[in-house]
Symmetry: C2
Subunit: 398 residues, 2 copies
């Protein structure tokens, strides 16, 4: 997803950390699981840490938790502000807060950086206790199931008895889906947005080009690089390219069109950034390398590529058989990375498997990043689903 949670052309957010309508100043915490953690790959590590945030209060019956699952480049900081001088809030701050669609007066909201990530959770950039150096590519291969299992341990630690809901967009939707499959007794509702039950060849192809940009950068050095170094060129290229896939042709035309940079004035003939879209992308690439680890990018994109619950079970319907959660699936018309058809297919498979499921398709030109959309329609849809006991609306187009 984009660097910030705002719709691409929304005005810069006004700090509202003192206002009553968001969760205010928040602090991340670390959960450390002390025991051996076995990955789906058969590999294991001794202990891991997940960095997470919570908003709201766990109720007495410990069943009002909503687990937020982030996308590829997201993190645990999905609402509120880290300090009064913070430039921007958590990435889903528009959705989560007191009185918002995910109402923190009612729900205990939990969000953790995924296992394999690089924002405080254990991943390839963490120190391997056996060597004291970063794991690099010695880190076990991570799957979405491993991410789910690690987050379940966190929820157990927090005393959550069952999830009111699990929700996420893009990879977060895959995580939610697998939570509902792996922990059916624990998961009452799932919201899957801008996601897929398995990537198309095109989506795998884009991830592969990103990985090649990283791995062919000599500074990658087989994954063994210093924390402040590494394949920054390759990672920036990967990000620039991926960023295009998060937007849409129409959205980019509306936002940038063929406008040229003012500073490019007379420089009609140059390889410098001449069009606005060029300097925007360069900025996206440069800001990403300051916050993301290249090995985590390899591991997490691979986990996304490999996600395919139907494959192991013969069909998506069979993969969904254990699910007890009620489901809301949301597709966005302009999302060409995980297009509406792929989201609708999830809802249809849930229905064919005899589950309660709704599908909504929202018209937008923001592309894949539309799940971050500031949209009253989306808020109504989500709050309605979270607060109703049952939903049967199907193919509800807004």
């Amino acid at each position: 997803m984009a660097d910030d949670a705002q719709a691409p052309d929304a005005p810069a957010p006004t700090p509202r950390h003192l206002a009553g309508d968001d969760v205010g100043i928040v602090h991340a915490r670390d959960f450390t699981h002390p025991g051996t953690f076995a990955f789906k790959s058969g590999q294991a590590i001794e202990g891991f840490t997940l960095r997470y945030e919570t908003y709201g209060v766990l109720n007495a019956t410990r069943d009002n938790a909503v687990l937020i699952c982030h996308a590829l480049s997201g993190d645990h900081h999905c609402a509120g502000w880290h300090s009064e001088s913070d430039g921007k809030p958590g990435w889903w701050n528009n959705l989560i807060g007191p009185g918002k669609a995910v109402d923190t007066r009612r729900f205990f909201v939990v969000c953790a950086n995924v296992l394999g990530g690089c924002q405080g959770s254990t991943g390839p950039s963490s120190a391997d206790p056996a060597t004291g150096r970063a794991y690099g590519t010695h880190f076990p291969f991570v799957t979405i199931r491993d991410m789910v299992n690690a987050q379940k341990l966190l929820l157990d630690h927090l005393g959550v008895s069952e999830l009111h809901a699990v929700m996420g967009g893009s990879m977060g939707g895959m995580t939610a889906m697998l939570f509902a499959i792996e922990y059916p007794q624990f998961t009452r509702r799932q919201i899957i947005m801008a996601s897929t039950a398995n990537e198309s060849a095109q989506a795998i192809a884009f991830n592969e080009v990103g990985r090649q940009a990283i791995m062919q950068d000599p500074a990658w050095n087989n994954g063994d690089y210093p924390r402040d170094g590494g394949p920054r060129v390759g990672l920036a290229i990967a990000r620039m390219m991926a960023h295009i896939t998060y937007l849409s042709d129409a959205g980019m035309d509306r936002k940038f069109g063929r406008r040229k940079r003012e500073t490019a004035g007379g420089e009609a003939y140059t390889f410098d950034a001449q069009f606005e879209v060029e300097s925007y992308l360069r900025h996206q690439g440069q800001s990403f390398i300051n916050r993301f680890d290249a090995n985590s990018y390899l591991y997490i994109t691979r986990a996304i590529d490999q996600f395919d619950p139907a494959r192991a079970c013969g069909s998506l319907e069979q993969a969904f058989a254990p699910i007890r959660a009620e489901s809301l699936v949301v597709g966005f018309t302009s999302d060409w990375l995980f297009p509406p058809e792929q989201n609708r297919a999830i809802a249809l498979a849930l229905l064919r498997a005899g589950k309660r499921a709704s599908y909504a398709e929202l018209s937008t030109d923001l592309g894949h990043d539309s799940f971050l959309l500031e949209s009253p329609d989306l808020y109504t849809l989500i709050s309605g689903f979270l607060e109703r006991s049952e939903t049967y609306v199907f193919d509800f187009a807004i």
Copy 2:
């Protein structure tokens, strides 16, 4: 366009250089313009060479020439075979030959590698007479108009009095369009396929990521690199990414889906090429760096980005005002790089400008590369247009 002129999943071509249905063994020639050549940018070079091929015979009235314009990564070798042991024919061999849609029994077909290219024509990898070393980024900025003007000098040299037609796909369509604008008395027909009157922000963005992959590769060295070296990593990444934009989601799913490589057998957890689409793309990247110059890639993509005849004239209709050619514009349903709407817009602007123009839209899942399609419908359309004296069919959908 793709490395070969075949539809992506067509069977490997059987060498047919001795069969009567193609132009057989052909030889490229060089045209050297001796004088000063002034670029649109205001820069100039002393003399240039275009490498070209011709098929068929120029008639007595010297008005049966068809100029073929190639795309970004194409070249002058668009039909026939260079030797009996050649593995594949020219990139548009399916279209050009005796009795084919572009009938070499009737037409004198000319195709030249563009100015700024790297397949024998003068470009950044050519030696600068002033220094004896490759021009690199000291080569003047090239525009589509410069390419057109250079090809006009070649046609003059060949004794062509007027073009029966100019035609091309993608950048070749831009070249054809500008030929019809710049040399209206000289151009009787134009065929524009899978092209655009100006790129969208998304298309510029993809080109920019490719350029950044090249320019951020340390081996680029500001464009000063040895012929057998240079930014091979960056160029391969640029090509891999661009290649995705030449195909379509549906076409890639049909061709590759989520199939894994047989050799990837038990290697479920690897960053090696695991999915077939990954090894296909890696192959595309590697084969490209052996035949293409990175600086030419920069120059030609920039020329494509800057192409915008409407901008200089106020509107596309005004830009088209000088045109006397009859036009056929062809869009392809699965082309998301230069989608059907952008092709239809060209035809509409021609009609609004009072020109004779037809538009056809072909259903295919081959994406942007569809103009290389082996399709009897396409052949009928093109041969009909080339052989009729007038055409008025509009929005003729196949």
